[in-house]
């Protein structure tokens, strides 16, 4: 397996959808290739960072601009 193929199957590997035989090849390559290992780690970090950054329950997502509140309430009385 080459680095390019590994990059192609990364998503299936991460989600556990890679068939067992491909998985073995994949992990063998990973154990030998630091660069691909690094890439895999960063791919997973990217997914996690996205989830954390967009967590709608975090405090920084709590506020709504006043003019939008007013616009919503005004639109309601018009309907």
């Amino acid at each position: 397996m080459k680095c390019q193929e590994l990059a192609e199957f990364l998503m299936d590997y991460v989600s556990g959808d890679l068939p067992i035989e491909s998985r073995t090849h994949f992990e063998f390559h990973l154990s030998k290739c630091k660069n691909c290992h690094q890439y895999l780690v960063q791919y997973e970090v990217t997914i996690k960072a996205g989830k954390i950054a967009c967590d709608e329950m975090s405090d920084e997502m709590r506020d709504i601009p006043d003019d939008l509140v007013k616009a919503v309430l005004a639109a309601r009385t018009k309907v």
């Binding site: 080459k2 960063q42 791919y43 950054a53 997502m61 709504i64 939008l68």
Partner: protein, 201 residues
């Protein structure tokens, strides 16, 4: 910006809404609007459209409070309405020419090796993401993804829809959805790399 008022007693609030209490409507918008705006912003990508989406979603919700069943949480119910409104917005707005993602994907040498040597991201992601600037940066980079890829990434990785649902709401094949998700994640990794490297050094 107004600070959101937390809702202590959802059942009481719902009863007030059904009774047509003006103050209750305002309380709902203030308590949930910010989070819904954040969800809409991620899906539609622009502030202006996100505001339209939130407004449409609230109007829809206000009209159908009668159908709201107390078994679901109000926040969950509103969340679903805003996601639907955002997807509707995507479908009805003029499609922009598809931006290419190629330049954000890894490149390979003829022998199949990566062209780039990846430098390590040493700091644990949980630690990096404790910083407000890091969270803002990641959100900006998600917004910088080409639209057709950003929407797949947001629906799959952030909203938690499965591949089939995502494919259906975006009118894509399951296979195209998988390819887009993988490319979107790779592109986001490329966009984060310069920042995550420097954060570690």
């Amino acid at each position: 910006m107004a600070s959101a008022t937390p809702v202590d007693d959802e059942a009481a609030l719902i009863a007030q809404l059904r009774a047509g209490d003006e103050a209750a409507y305002e309380q709902v918008v203030r308590a949930y609007g910010g989070r819904l705006l954040a969800v809409a912003r991620r899906i539609v990508g622009t502030e202006e459209d996100a505001r339209d989406v939130v407004q449409d979603a609230f109007l829809n919700a206000f009209k159908s409070f009668a159908r709201f069943e107390g078994t679901a949480k109000l926040s969950t119910w509103l969340h679903r309405i805003v996601v639907n409104a955002a997807l509707m917005k995507l479908r009805t707005r003029k499609r922009k020419p598809e931006q290419s993602i190629e330049s954000m994907l890894p490149s390979f040498l003829d022998d199949g090796h990566h062209e780039e040597r990846f430098q390590s991201w040493d700091e644990p992601v949980d630690k990096v993401m404790e910083r407000k600037e890091a969270r803002e940066l990641v959100r900006q980079q998600i917004d910088a993804l080409p639209e057709g890829y950003r929407t797949v990434l947001v629906l799959r990785d952030i909203e938690g829809l499965d591949t089939e649902e995502t494919a259906k709401v975006l009118g894509l094949s399951v296979n195209a959805t998988k390819i887009r998700l993988h490319r979107a994640r790779q592109a986001l990794r490329t966009l984060l790399a310069p920042h995550f490297r420097s954060a570690a050094s």
